[in-house]
């Protein structure tokens, strides 16, 4: 199963991720 998030955000929104990274509920995905 998969969860897809699609969202609008200011252009300076940045992800703190890398592809293939393991993640858990509540961990930060990105910030402004």
């Amino acid at each position: 199963s998969t969860i897809v998030l699609l969202f609008e955000a200011p252009k300076d929104f940045s992800f703190n991720l890398h592809p293939g990274q393991r993640i858990k509920v509540g961990e930060g995905l990105g910030s402004l």
Partner: protein, 321 residues
């Protein structure tokens, strides 16, 4: 000293050079091949291969699998069966609210296990948090109304979300992506989280937002593992999914749960009407439920304009079959 020198092997530069040289060349070859594999475009399935897989009765298989896993196991069989599952998929039972394997009547119940209250702290400084345990398959900005499910393999945003209330003005050059944006200073972003069989399968709200619409797309239930996502274009548009859309502090927001063969049904805690993986559906159809008009009936504490969800709040779960 001279006896010791005679007993040492005579240095042979040529074989030494051949061995080290070929080793170095081999290392360079594998290094370049790895780099090429990472940069090369994925090998996509042909339309015939997609049609063949799509025609496979994945929904029937999924429901059969679900029924099988809904059968209660005798107590003596529970520990060996669940232990095998734990060992195969690397489940961390120390995080489970109930660690005693005898407690779970069947594999379906074990799959829906809850976690201990403190094991998933919600990041207070980040405005966007992970909705699920899993692996980040892809993320980034949405360009030209095409979203990448994995690097280089795209799907249409319009096919994925379905038509929007605000219709595109045919005379203007605005795209489907522009239609979703509330401000030209904003951009559209996406994240794909893949949940492996051993992961905790409930999903939570990634931020504070208002859900205004639930759109259920019945569809195929092909595997969504990263290998298949690299192989089948538009996989997320072909599979059964539930799209929750609404608004957050910066504008449009949506969370979509995509089903798969093993994990075919999706449950929302605040919406008991939703029924997924049902035997009959018409191809290409979708069912909408607006929470704006019925917010008081959906959730006692719902605010005007939809269902208010808070960051980290449990939203729903995936189920076997």
């Amino acid at each position: 000293l001279s006896t010791a020198r005679r007993s040492l092997p005579t240095p042979r530069p040529l074989p030494l050079l051949v061995v080290t040289g070929s080793g170095y060349l081999g290392y360079q070859y594998y290094k370049r091949r790895d780099q090429h594999d990472k940069t090369a475009l994925p090998h996509l399935a042909t339309p015939t291969q997609v049609a063949l897989y799509h025609s496979f009765p994945t929904r029937l298989l999924s429901r059969t699998w679900g029924r099988l896993n809904g059968l209660n196991l005798p107590k003596w069989l529970r520990k060996p069966i669940y232990s095998l599952y734990i060992w195969t998929f690397g489940v961390n039972m120390q995080e489970a609210a109930v660690e005693d394997l005898h407690h779970y009547k069947n594999l379906g119940e074990f799959f829906r296990r809850r976690l201990k209250p403190a094991v998933r702290p919600v990041c207070p400084s980040s405005c966007m948090t992970s909705p699920a345990d899993g692996k980040i398959l892809h993320f980034g900005r949405v360009k030209n109304s095409e979203v990448e499910q994995v690097k280089g393999v795209t799907y249409s945003l319009e096919n994925f979300l379905g038509p929007q209330m605000r219709q595109i003005d045919v005379s203007s050059s605005s795209s489907f992506r522009d239609l979703l944006l509330s401000s030209p200073d904003n951009d559209l972003f996406h994240v794909v989280v893949y949940l492996a069989p051993g992961d905790y399968h409930c999903f939570h709200s990634p931020t504070d937002w208002n859900v205004e619409l639930r759109r259920h797309f019945p569809g195929s239930l092909m595997s969504v593992n990263p290998g298949v996502a690299r192989w089948i274009k538009e996989l997320f548009c072909l599979n059964e999914r539930v799209v929750l859309s609404g608004q957050w502090q910066y504008g449009f927001f949506s969370l979509t749960a995509v089903g798969a063969t093993n994990v075919g049904s999706i449950r929302l805690y605040f919406d008991q009407e939703l029924q997924t993986n049902c035997p009959f559906y018409s191809k290409g159809s979708f069912q909408d439920r607006s929470y704006v008009a019925t917010s008081n009936q959906v959730k006692g504490a719902a605010v005007e304009g939809g269902v208010a969800l808070q960051k980290g709040e449990p939203v729903g779960e995936f189920n076997l079959g």
